[in-house]
Symmetry: C2
Subunit: 374 residues, 2 copies
């Protein structure tokens, strides 16, 4: 076997797609020979800025698990393919947080870092998201903070991180691997992290739970795959409330608040058929939506987002495209049956470009098969 090369079939498919959707983009054949020559010489090639922007957007359009795709064409694409030091990557990610957060008027944004080499080496952001809270495991195994981050937290400590207060909401440092450097561990400046305190529209005691959450989910452990290349490329949208209220706050292996909230609500938890779990879940989710709205931070509820997704399906159909979708991810984790996305089948297909799991992320880091709890 010769040296490892970019997959030329994937490259050709992508160039074809780019030229089909950009009829004015020039001569496909000329570009294609250019790419073949580059790959023959170097094993890889370089996307034009237009190709990159298009690829990052279409990768979102093709994300079968994402209900939020209506705005795929409005993605802000930040081209940072020339960063080669950990400090520069760190700075670019912190800037991503500021730009994506935008004072609360959240902008869907992706930061494209240098691609992996054809044999799969390159930059790796080890965080699952740019902002996550530490999980502090005590000797008995109990966790304070986010149990979903206990492994990452221990790893960061092992790499020398001394930050955090040992509390419920310590923002984790970024851990960045750049070939040729030691793992880079550095705090995110607090003023780059917008957070929302969780209160309830009617129940004053809710604030005393002391819950908060970060405003922006920036997924940082997937790879953007375009035309045979693989880019580390943290991206963000805004939250759908259930991701926080029905997953991060409610999963038993996350903040696990359902029992406590049910108790504070005074519900009868001695039998399941009072549906006390469902009631606590409801109030948690109302609190999340209320608090984000009060704080002026973009968020959507699962009913609105479901309707938008159906609109997206119709728009894409009119454009002659299928919308590959994964039912079990599209249907929200609460009140599934009363959202219109429940009552239909979807096309299933793995189209490229796409955001892909990073093979360097061990299965152990992956957590729940259904939902990162983004």
């Amino acid at each position: 076997a010769g040296p490892v090369e970019v997959d030329l079939g994937e490259a050709e498919d992508f160039l074809r797609l780019f030229h089909t959707e950009h009829p004015g983009a020039g001569d496909l054949q000329a570009r294609w020979s250019e790419v073949r020559v580059a790959v023959a010489r170097t094993g890889t090639y370089t996307h034009t800025p237009e190709e990159l922007r298009f690829g990052a957007k279409v990768a979102w359009r093709n994300s079968s698990r994402c209900i939020g795709r209506l705005y795929w064409n409005n993605l802000q694409v930040r081209d940072h393919r020339t960063l080669y030091t950990p400090a520069a990557v760190h700075e670019a990610l912190v800037e991503h947080l500021r730009l994506g957060t935008n004072g609360g008027a959240i902008r869907p944004t992706v930061t494209v870092l240098p691609p992996l080499t054809p044999d799969g080496r390159g930059i790796r952001v080890r965080n699952e998201q740019l902002v996550r809270y530490a999980g502090w495991r005590d000797p008995e195994g109990a966790v304070l903070g986010d149990p979903g981050q206990a492994g990452f937290t221990a790893m960061a400590r092992g790499l020398g991180w001394r930050g955090g207060t040992g509390g419920q909401f310590d923002v984790l440092p970024l851990v960045i691997d750049v070939p040729g450097y030691q793992p880079w561990v550095a705090e995110v400046p607090p003023d780059a992290v917008l957070e929302v305190r969780i209160t309830h529209p009617e129940l004053p005691w809710f604030a005393d739970l002391g819950m908060r959450w970060h405003a922006v989910p920036v997924i940082s452990n997937m790879l953007l795959g375009i035309g045979g290349l693989r880019y580390p490329a943290p991206f963000n949208g805004w939250y759908m409330g259930t991701e926080i209220g029905a997953r991060n706050f409610s999963d038993e292996d996350r903040y696990n608040l359902i029992p406590e909230v049910a108790k504070l609500l005074g519900l009868d938890t001695s039998r399941e058929d009072t549906l006390w779990r469902d009631r606590a879940l409801l109030e948690l989710n109302r609190a999340v939506l209320h608090s984000f709205a009060e704080a002026g931070v973009t968020i959507t509820d699962h009913h609105t987002e479901s309707r938008r997704f159906l609109l997206h399906l119709r728009k894409e159909e009119r454009a002659g495209r299928i919308v590959p979708s994964d039912w079990s991810w599209i249907v929200p984790p609460m009140s599934g049956g009363i959202t219109p996305v429940y009552h239909r089948y979807y096309d299933e297909a793995d189209l490229m470009p796409n955001y892909l799991p990073d093979p360097r992320t061990g299965a152990a880091d992956q957590g729940c098969p259904f939902g990162y709890g983004a």
Copy 2:
């Protein structure tokens, strides 16, 4: 091509399975030659009562969409393979209702009718379930009763049915096709239909909605497939509350009660993020569980049934069997994320024996791809 015959491969697989799980059942090879001879002579063969009983139970065990499989081995199997008149079938189905209902202590039961001929002809119960409520469509297209039954109701009228009051809860007649007979249309005697009035544990006005539901879901439009044979075979379990509260009462194309209940609850329906839909859904489901319990009719909530299903998975694993399961059907239509069945993958396989869609049922009769609203 010769005359149509039972699928011998399927027959052999079934006999093998039967003998594997019944080591004392005698000589597999002898039975297998017997079956081959019968099929060669007649195109088909006859199951022994033990084979039939086992087949009907294992068909439940293999039903990937069913969360209620823990008790698969306790299925009551009624062997009615000798009924050949519409009146006799009608009587057997009414008796099924009485036995399955059992005064409220519901018994999972299947009534096995004569198998189809190898070329697919035979008895057909046209009802989706033995008990369903009529849907009366007025000239403007609005439906009183169950809109999901408007087509069936019109068909029954066309066949001469003159029953019903034009109200919200008119039990539909059975419509039974037996080859050689006119379609048989006949009422289910009211005393064979146990119904539950829906009240709420705390909200007295709930009773004024005038809602009710039948105690037992007897699915009657699937075929029991065993060893190459196909039996019309209505079966029942007990209800999981969400089937009524989150589907039959809540689906927009069924009773569609969410908006009305939200209004009566005094919720702010001017914006989605109050989660008024979710609150109305919750109270509907509490009412269903409460009312069945008060009436002494077996029912389970989705939390309990989810835990039972996980127990079933463990038991089957210990027995060395896989549990083929369809995630989108197993996860309940409300509060999915807080039930333990959400957070895992399942084996997917189409094992036989099984309960299968009846190819004679047109797609038009099938309704929602996710859930009959059983």
